[in-house]
């Protein structure tokens, strides 16, 4: 096991580059998730505002 992580002396380089690559792909995914939740929140807020305005218009 220890031998596997050492990678024949190149462990640092190999694991660093794997971390960078997978971290980059993960960051892209998280960015997209953030975008999705932000858009979802904005759209729901708009919907609420519109409904409130509509109900106010009908009551007055």
């Amino acid at each position: 096991m220890k031998e596997f992580f050492a990678m024949g002396g190149y462990g640092f380089y190999v694991w660093l580059s794997y971390a960078v690559a997978l971290g980059g792909l993960l960051a892209l995914y998280l960015m997209t998730r953030g975008c999705e939740s932000r858009v979802k929140r904005q759209l729901e807020k708009r919907l609420r505002l519109e409904q409130r305005r509509k109900s106010r218009d009908t009551t007055s």
């Binding site: 580059s17 980059g24 759209l43």
Partner: protein, 246 residues
């Protein structure tokens, strides 16, 4: 044919279809990554010259390949948006830009980390690394221009022109950088060369390339969908969908 393209380019149709494609594509991507990583880290043999450090190849080469093809894909979709005024194409080009930039950064960092055991230093002005760096600048310019112009329509059109100019320039840049590199090649640098790759190393590489490509398709669809419903927020189908969802 044209009817089909127009139907596909309609935002609502694209949203529905991509929603059906996304989950299976995501699982395929994950499976490919698991198989590819197991192959790259456990099953493939160490190289007789580079030892275990050759395992960086499996994540560096697909990123470098995609960094180039992302730019081509981005420029072509941007051109489609510019010429036929298809909004969906603008959105897809917008979605690809940060993905391509991330691929370029990954290729740059893994390349220079690989360079440390190979060349003894993290950075050499190697032809491929230098082209990758210039490509990063091109992505940065595209994204900077797009964020600088406020109106989304003209931002998409202006950056489409920039992407096309960049696309024309990329072969010239690649050629000139290669030529510059052979001209100034210091004698001390041992070239990595292109050894004919053995089958035991080829299959994990191919699977990793497929995994990166599926990831690219998946994340592009995901980002495009997100931006699409934001830009179409005033259309009736998005309003209806939001109402039904809440």
């Amino acid at each position: 044919m044209w009817k089909f393209i127009h139907k596909f380019a309609s935002p609502k149709y694209f949203y529905n279809i991509s929603g059906k494609i996304l989950p299976p594509l995501g699982w395929v991507t994950l499976a490919l990554f698991i198989v590819g990583l197991v192959g790259a880290l456990f099953l493939s043999p160490p190289d007789y010259q580079q030892g275990e450090s050759v395992r960086i190849l499996y994540i560096h080469v697909p990123a470098a390949m995609l960094s180039m093809s992302c730019y081509v894909a981005m420029a072509i979709t941007a051109a489609i948006g510019l010429i036929w005024r298809i909004k969906l194409a603008d959105i897809v080009a917008w979605a690809i830009a940060p993905i391509g930039m991330t691929m370029t950064i990954i290729a740059l960092i893994t390349g220079s980390v690989w360079g440390k055991p190979m060349w003894g230093t993290y950075w050499v002005w190697d032809a491929r690394l230098t082209s990758e760096l210039i490509l990063l600048f091109l992505y940065l310019g595209f994204i900077a221009l797009q964020t600088a112009i406020e109106d989304t329509r003209s931002a998409a059109r202006a950056s489409a022109i920039l992407a096309l100019v960049g696309l024309v320039n990329i072969p010239i840049i690649k050629y000139s950088v290669n030529w510059w590199n052979t001209l100034h090649q210091p004698a001390t640098i041992s070239k990595m060369g292109k050894p004919s790759i053995d089958a035991s190393m080829l299959w994990p590489l191919l699977i990793m390339i497929a995994a990166y490509m599926c990831y690219f398709a998946w994340i592009t669809l995901k980002r495009s969908r997100c931006e699409l419903i934001y830009r179409e927020r005033n259309s009736s189908w998005v309003k209806k969908m939001v109402k039904e969802a809440s």
